[in-house]
Symmetry: C2
Subunit: 455 residues, 2 copies
């Protein structure tokens, strides 16, 4: 019997004290954000109207390898971190695989996901800058919940624009946000110019993430003492999320374990970028090699079927342009229960690494994902979020390959969160009402045709 | 700054390897279960038709102080235990109290509560006896979820009778159970004689816990290879739940901390009985003294306003009689969102200890409980279950008393679970629609008048 415990917890002393900035080790740096009007790289002063100053610095800094985590954030982290690195003994047994499977479980906090790691950082810098509050958008509600928790802790106002259809159909996430004192507004609303305009043009619309972003940005830039914050895609978010990978690596190192394969689900890239950061750093510096696999839904396959091009981050086209693997900012993925993976583009950092051949990507179908989720839940206990279950699916596939070959590979995957607020999706799966949708080449081409012309 | 970490986790080696049977140290033993027909103490062979043999032994054994936890259960415990003992630094700061507050958090597993500790034990003994499956009832669904998880892990069939109104209004808990492979039947159903009878007499009834118990017991006793299991009240359940208190004590001992006050919410007594077990043991043996406080809802005040008498455990009056503090088996508590605390009676063990003056009891109002829950959530992050929040309310009250007196008391309370499936209640609280109901003396007297006559 192995000496590795079921769950490896770092002590407070062993917890990372600095975030790791993967960009510092990248030879090919991620492409800069561009001003949507001039197509010139965004300057710090331009970004400072939207984001807090300290976060603008983090966003633009491609050279500093480590950023000390401020004391107050370390204190907050101690309330729910370190997250456990779990040895999936029961899943291994169930699969009958010689592979050794570990997962880093980020769901043991009320936001239910890893989003809190960056929410507290962004809220902290807003507070430090003397701001009154922050605005953001949320779809399914995980990011909004995380930000509400962080703002409640720091005594900061939090205005969340929630896609109207989610606001109405997912009242529970909304109530969690209200419990933490956030104001939650269904988007589009009559509170903003952009909201009014959209409602005039499309009466009765149930909203979209792109619209909610536009409203949140408008409120942030027109209200004294407010800034806008975002839960994924941006470099600063990946920086904060590096805590996931740093803890994972410290826990593995503690027991002398070296992974062969590292797997994460990928929507905007916040979880995957955080999980792989220190491992990819070693790879970039030539110190170690790993297979790194991004898993995305077949319904929204930005890495596997997208174009690497400059595109808008939002459908309202008010945000800067980012170079990324994208399906086009106008791409509307088919209804898919992995709400957090329905973003049309991918973090510029991950896009560059993928383009450089430093990581793999694969896409999986929704029904296969839920089947893997249920298998996992029954043996490992945890009820996984649909997003996280994309990684589970591929981890199981890789473990079954090991069963065929007899290889004792070590597989690490990110279990980003819990599925307590996703039971409607599980219900559809149980009732055989879940469908798979894969966009056609024609649909994607039509979307690519609308990418901004960069000449 | 204190050296006590935010969260104390025991290592696998430090985890308890045996359950502690508090009854062994009780001078006045809890009164025995009685046959409802003869009023004679229930014999092992009578109970064996309903419960697994090993569990019958545990139920009746008032003398053996420790029961070794079987290897397979220890393995399961390692998947989600040890649960953290958390130092509530942020709550202390918020309250400005010199008190030191700790809470044992049992919510970090998919069942969302401590119920899993006994579910795995009961399912294990059923499996060991070669049974095909188990039956149970569930109201809000926490116990049913826990049992489903345990049965999925062991490959045991699990039939859950869920109060019809909950089945329809709380579909998410139902889907969690289905994810773990349980069959969930709305009760009353046409599957049982008692269900048919009730439906004939009360067409359109939305069911009750008492009816669901009767259906589950009927199915267990009339189906080859099945037994009935229960999530609270019974001695065996308190035995399994002693893991909570044993871990708590080991974690405190590790840092040389001696509590002054121990607080737990009390419905049937499973959490409170488990949390206080080793501390009460010391108290009974004269080795230490603690204030121990049971907290119950003002709407269902079995300890603070009930009678200490023999009563039926179910409203259907098919189960044995138990001597307990009770409001009468016909007492229907007013709608109260702490579903897990709406039981009319209290564990015989806790009832005897309370009657002997070894612990205190207090009742709190629902709106005060939610106010405490929200305060707690905002500073400690965790979204507490309504049940658990009863303990939070009293812990805060005691900490504020310390603020007045300047005393640096150490307060430990049980945080039994999370409130993710209770957002309807939080919504009512946010919208000012939550009401408090306290039964009148006349109502209680009318219920007491129907207690069984014991000659």
């Amino acid at each position: 019997m192995s000496q590795i415990p079921y769950k490896i917890y770092l002590t407070e002393e062993e917890m990372p004290k600095a975030w790791y900035n993967l960009r510092a080790d990248m030879k090919n740096k991620p492409a800069p954000l561009l001003n949507p009007g001039t197509h010139e790289p965004m300057k710090a002063e331009e970004l400072a109207g939207v984001f807090c100053e300290e976060l603008v610095k983090q966003e633009l800094d491609n050279t500093t390898p480590y950023f000390d985590i401020p004391e107050e954030i370390l204190g907050f982290y101690k309330m729910y971190r370190p997250s456990p690195l779990v040895r999936a003994y029961c899943l291994e047994k169930k699969l009958g695989t010689p592979a050794k499977i570990y997962y880093k479980f980020e769901g043991n906090n009320t936001s239910g996901s890893h989003k809190l790691n960056s929410a507290i950082a962004q809220a902290y810098y807003a507070k430090k800058q003397g701001l009154k509050g922050v605005t953001t958008e949320t779809g399914a509600g995980q990011w909004g919940t995380a930000l509400s928790m962080a703002c409640a802790y720091l005594g900061l106002d939090c205005k969340v624009y929630m896609v109207k259809v989610s606001y109405e159909q997912k009242p529970f996430r909304r109530e969690v946000m209200r419990t933490y004192g956030a104001s939650v507004t269904p988007s589009p609303s009559m509170e903003t110019e952009v909201g009014k305009k959209i409602l005039a043009e499309h009466p009765g619309t149930t909203g979209s993430l792109g619209c909610a972003i536009s409203e949140a940005v408008e409120v942030a830039t027109t209200t004294e003492g407010y800034r806008y914050v975002l839960g994924s895609v941006l470099n600063q978010v990946l920086l904060h999320q590096s805590i996931i990978g740093l803890e994972t690596k410290a826990a593995l190192d503690k027991y002398g374990v070296k992974p062969d394969i590292i797997i994460g689900c990928a929507g905007g890239g916040s979880n995957l970028g955080g999980l792989i950061a220190p491992f990819m750093g070693q790879k970039l510096r030539g110190e170690a090699d790993y297979r790194i696999i991004a898993v995305e839904p077949a319904s929204c396959p930005s890495l596997t079927r997208g174009k690497y091009a400059y595109d808008f981050c939002d459908t309202g086209m008010v945000c800067p342009l980012a170079k990324m693997y994208t399906l086009g900012s106008g791409f509307i993925p088919a209804p898919n229960h992995a709400g957090g993976l329905r973003y049309h583009g991918m973090s510029s950092v991950l896009s560059q690494l993928y383009d450089d051949g430093l990581m793999e990507a694969t896409s999986v179908k929704q029904t296969d994902v839920f089947e893997a989720a249920e298998t996992f839940a029954r043996v490992e206990g945890i009820l996984p979020a649909p997003e996280s279950s994309h990684a589970i699916k591929v981890a199981i596939d890789e473990a079954l390959k090991c069963k065929e070959t007899g290889e004792e590979k070590t597989i690490v995957f990110g279990l980003t969160g819990t599925g307590y607020f996703d039971m409607v999706a599980y219900e559809k799966f149980h009732d055989g009402q879940m469908t798979d949708y894969i966009p056609t080449d024609e649909e994607l081409q039509a979307s690519f045709d609308k990418l901004p012309k960069m000449d």
